[in-house]
Symmetry: C2
């Protein structure tokens, strides 16, 4: 229950028709695409930067936590108000403010969906590189909060590489301006990248100037099987030594392939224990030769089964194996710890050996797949919820995996962020002095600790 | 004069043979490549991260300013100890710690020169994109401190786009670790980019993991003359709409060309008032067709005089006009305010009209040239030192120019940074709340305000 003075402050900020405290509305905004749920004290809709600033100023005065929400597509509980307080929805801030084709930039409100940006940019043969699979409904603000990537991150970068400027509101209601609408900027500290990926803990992003890039005319997909992970890793390294790299390189490991084979019909040579999907893009005139060059490179690295497709229907067909994975995982166990660790490219085979050892040691099925071109693998530790001993083994296994990742000079998260679950590992990744500084930065942006409190780290 | 206890502390940190207080040594480290000079109280050489940490801890205890210095190539006074205290030279920290070809990374000490990195990377057909013209003697640490770019920034990015991880020492002597040795990383706040471009005010960078990229086989240069700046700007925009953009697009404006023509023999059509240099790279097999495509695009935009070269001697020949500019500038005046403003690409013609108006209003010669592909122009306001009235007019002209840049949605600095000279304009670029937050961030990293004090902004 909100205090009356607080509720009145919120109504003054955005109008009575944009503040909901009824149970039905609050429940509708109590969850996202994760398992987390927490009913907020109110749901508040803002339609402008000024309204966001007024809402934050009111919450600052009343020390009321704010969880900012786009469309609630997060799989990590990022938009669930776990610390109580209000949900601030930006879904009504969905305008394109300016499209500058010559400068290849688009300025948008934070509540616009990724797909709306792509659709508008595509009318000018441009695109915004971050393209998470949730792009049809996830918002730009949400993408920026977690530094989202997508299939094309390998070649074109994530949010941090494709955002020029931000308008935001810090935790005391102040308006912040970062960056500039230009491709170069060296004026003071880089607050743009500091806010991107800060998981809503530093400021509420209300507007963004995004870097658009010219879209390639066409794409093609190759699928290549390997007898072992070491050969597949060599192929990844070889493909990344070109000046024109693939847009994405995805891997399915032996466990993933076995699980898929158990539940779906696979047209794969039986000796294949590691499978790569490689997407290349280019012009209509050059795409065939790119497929040839990529195939040749794969063969040189020992690929034993190469398929390629350059027509949408054939490409979709090739992806079938990848799409069969999620249902197969659910056949094995009802729950999983899905990590998104990253290792240097040459360390992928060593990592996979460790994963095999961990799987045997803890008697757990572990399926690994993902964005191998970046060394970014989703290591899925499977367990059944009813089996609490198995769940505990999964937790122990995870802790050992994280130590291995850090030993291999890797990173505990490539794209999911820290949220709540990975906090114990943050000081292992860096050191206490570095995490202390992050906490002190948080205190400067959010002195009352009301912006997504306790995410990334707890305040001391 | 240092207190004896402080001097002893420094000697304990690095050894007696690495602390110099004699006048000759201190004078040798009193200047850089700018007009600034200030003799430090001591010059201290560190040979390891641990020694840097010990020096900073000592200075923190004695509240003694530290100016970190690589090879002193800065043109902005960045490595001059204007606030007194010591110069900490990292030039003896010049080791390559690890080259990982498969992961395309190189880990180096901060005092290594850019060229040493390039030379080592080139043995594996790799390169580090930042390549300032000072690369033969400027250090990686210095490059990172000012987020250096270079001719290839347009296509390949600056330091912020090409650095994965840092090791550094904050202002109280603590060791900081940022990022990871991987191409993706989403663990906590992005301190890597925060330190890059912070002009030595937040921490002393001691080690860096740099992102290497595969080097193109060959390069070619095109030179294209235009009857007016608007046509040249259209050509820039057209070239940037390709998926494969030039490595650099440089502009010389009408004033620059007139000045060069007065002092050098130019083989240019007399109707040319704007000249572009366009560098493209690619494979030996494709470079000729890239030249053809680029030429065709330039002709479509009205280029009246196109030359191209794909052999080193011919390329050097084409650059002659550009190289004639600096001597020509010195013929006109002995001093200049050399700004590095940035505007969105479509605003270049409007900016140039404003510059013409300012030139007439203030009776000053203003020559503009530079990295037009990024909208980043070096606007050189020329004046003679003896003429104090002229110098004052130049200062007034600069202030008006900065307002125009901000009105055009641009940035007051594309690559030089803020240093001392651009501080008055920082709050115009952003707002007071944003600059206040930058100052508060500085206080967290450097509580005693000893790291390059009063650069970027004065502490409140």
């Amino acid at each position: 229950m909100l205090k009356a003075s607080c509720l009145n402050g919120l109504i003054t900020a955005v109008g009575a028709d944009a503040v909901f405290t009824d149970q039905a509305s609050c429940i509708a905004y109590s969850y996202d695409n994760s398992a987390c749920q927490q009913v907020p004290a109110a749901v508040v809709f803002a339609t402008s930067h000024a309204e966001v600033a007024a809402v934050v100023a009111c919450c600052y005065q009343h020390v009321l936590p704010i969880t900012v929400r786009g469309k609630g597509s997060s799989t990590t509980g990022a938009s669930v108000s776990v610390a109580g307080g209000i949900v601030l929805s930006l879904e009504r801030m969905n305008k394109i403010l300016a499209l500058n084709v010559a400068n290849r930039t688009i300025r948008v409100e934070a509540g616009i969906t990724n797909l709306q940006v792509q659709t508008r940019a595509a009318t000018q043969q441009l695109f915004w590189p971050p393209d998470p699979t949730s792009q049809a409904y996830s918002t730009v603000g949400g993408n920026l909060a977690c530094n989202a990537g997508g299939p094309h991150t390998l070649k074109y970068g994530s949010c941090r590489e494709n955002t020029y400027a931000l308008k935001a509101v810090s935790g005391d209601g102040s308006t912040l301006l970062t960056g500039a609408n230009t491709s170069k900027s060296a004026a003071g500290y880089d607050l743009t990248r500091l806010l991107i990926g800060s998981e809503g803990t530093l400021a509420v992003i209300t507007e963004a100037t995004l870097k658009l890039q010219p879209a390639a005319e066409t794409r093609a997909l190759l699928q290549a099987g390997f007898a072992d992970i070491t050969a597949a890793s060599h192929a990844i390294v070889a493909l990344m030594q070109n000046t024109d790299i693939p847009t994405s390189i995805e891997l399915l490991d032996a466990t993933s392939l076995t699980m898929i084979a158990n539940y779906a019909k696979l047209a794969l040579a039986p000796s294949v224990t590691a499978l790569l999907f490689i997407e290349v893009d280019g012009s209509n005139a050059t795409i065939a030769s790119k497929i040839d060059h990529t195939s040749a490179a794969l063969r040189r690295c020992g690929a034993i089964d190469i398929k390629s497709a350059d027509q949408p229907a054939d490409i979709a067909n090739l992806w079938q194996i990848r799409r069969a994975l999620s249902p197969a995982l659910r056949h094995v166990a009802d729950s999983k710890i899905n990590e998104d660790i990253v290792v240097p490219l040459d360390k992928i085979p060593i990592l996979m050996q460790h994963v095999e050892t961990l799987s045997a040691k803890w008697s757990l099925t572990i399926a690994s797949f993902g964005h191998a071109g970046n060394g970014n693998l989703h290591v899925n530790i499977l367990y059944n919820k009813v089996d609490t001993a198995q769940q505990q083994r999964a937790e122990s296994c995870l802790a050992e995996l994280m130590d291995i990742v850090i030993d291999l000079d890797g990173c505990i998260s490539g794209e999911h962020g820290i949220g709540l679950t990975k906090q114990p590992f943050l000081t292992k990744q860096y050191n206490q002095a570095t995490v202390n500084l992050m906490q002190k930065i948080k205190q400067q942006f959010d002195p009352a600790n009301i912006l997504n409190p306790n995410k990334v780290f707890k305040q001391p």
